[in-house]
Symmetry: C2
Subunit: 138 residues, 2 copies
């Protein structure tokens, strides 16, 4: 999926391969990991910086505000009791922020998802459309 | 170490066991993981919330500002090219934010430190004092 009018940095090939591209938030692109074992969102801000904490404060705060919106959605609409958040980026050197719904019966609780989540089911296309509409509007 | 006048929430026993308590930042306590294989700071904000993205925006931004200061220190003074940041908290249910210096020759590059870092050397007490002074002042 290409978002019309999007002239922001191209997505790293690994993110493109691993994720569905849901659309745009104020701070950048919103992705969803293809592994449907749990809801694993990834925010890719419009920046050339590699590390979250190198962003100027205003950009960092805008990104965290978008992440908080996704976290609220995970908790209120998808009923996850906990949300993990992290920016690692040593394998994929494009700044991206993980926002991951976690619950005690998920496949890798209480370990982090990175490196510990086996391949899972894929999303149903209708589910993806519903998620898109619920988060980003019609 | 107890910080005089600190009436904030007590530190979780696991954080107390795993970390040196360096002192206070505006948003809360500053810890340093005892594993000296790499510089692994942990910020514990003064809150009863469990998840970073549940903090009110002002508290979240203040915490991230402190984290950015630590990240700048890791890069400019300790010469780490990259910094990982994450809030997981499924094992230790007290909100804490990891800010970790990473370099290609560290023991678990490019994997995350959580679950992948073997026991390492301990800090020399003088090194701890120097770190304290450099970050928090005399």
């Amino acid at each position: 999926m290409r978002v019309a009018g999007d002239n922001k940095p191209p997505l790293h090939s690994r993110l493109e391969a691993d994720c569905h591209q849901l659309g745009r938030l104020p701070s950048g692109q919103l992705l969803l990991h293809r592994n449907a074992a749990l809801h694993w969102f990834i925010l890719v801000p419009d920046t050339g910086e590699l590390d979250l904490l190198d962003l100027p404060a205003a950009e960092r705060n805008a990104l965290m505000s978008d992440a908080a919106m996704i976290s609220d959605f995970l908790k209120s609409e998808l009923h996850y009791p906990r949300v993990n958040v992290g920016a690692l980026g040593l394998v994929v050197p494009q700044l991206h922020l993980h926002v991951v719904g976690r619950r005690e019966d998920d496949p890798c609780w209480p370990a982090p998802v990175w490196g510990n989540l086996d391949s899972g089911a894929a999303y149903n296309p209708d589910t993806l459309l519903q998620l898109h509409a619920a988060i980003l509007g019609p």
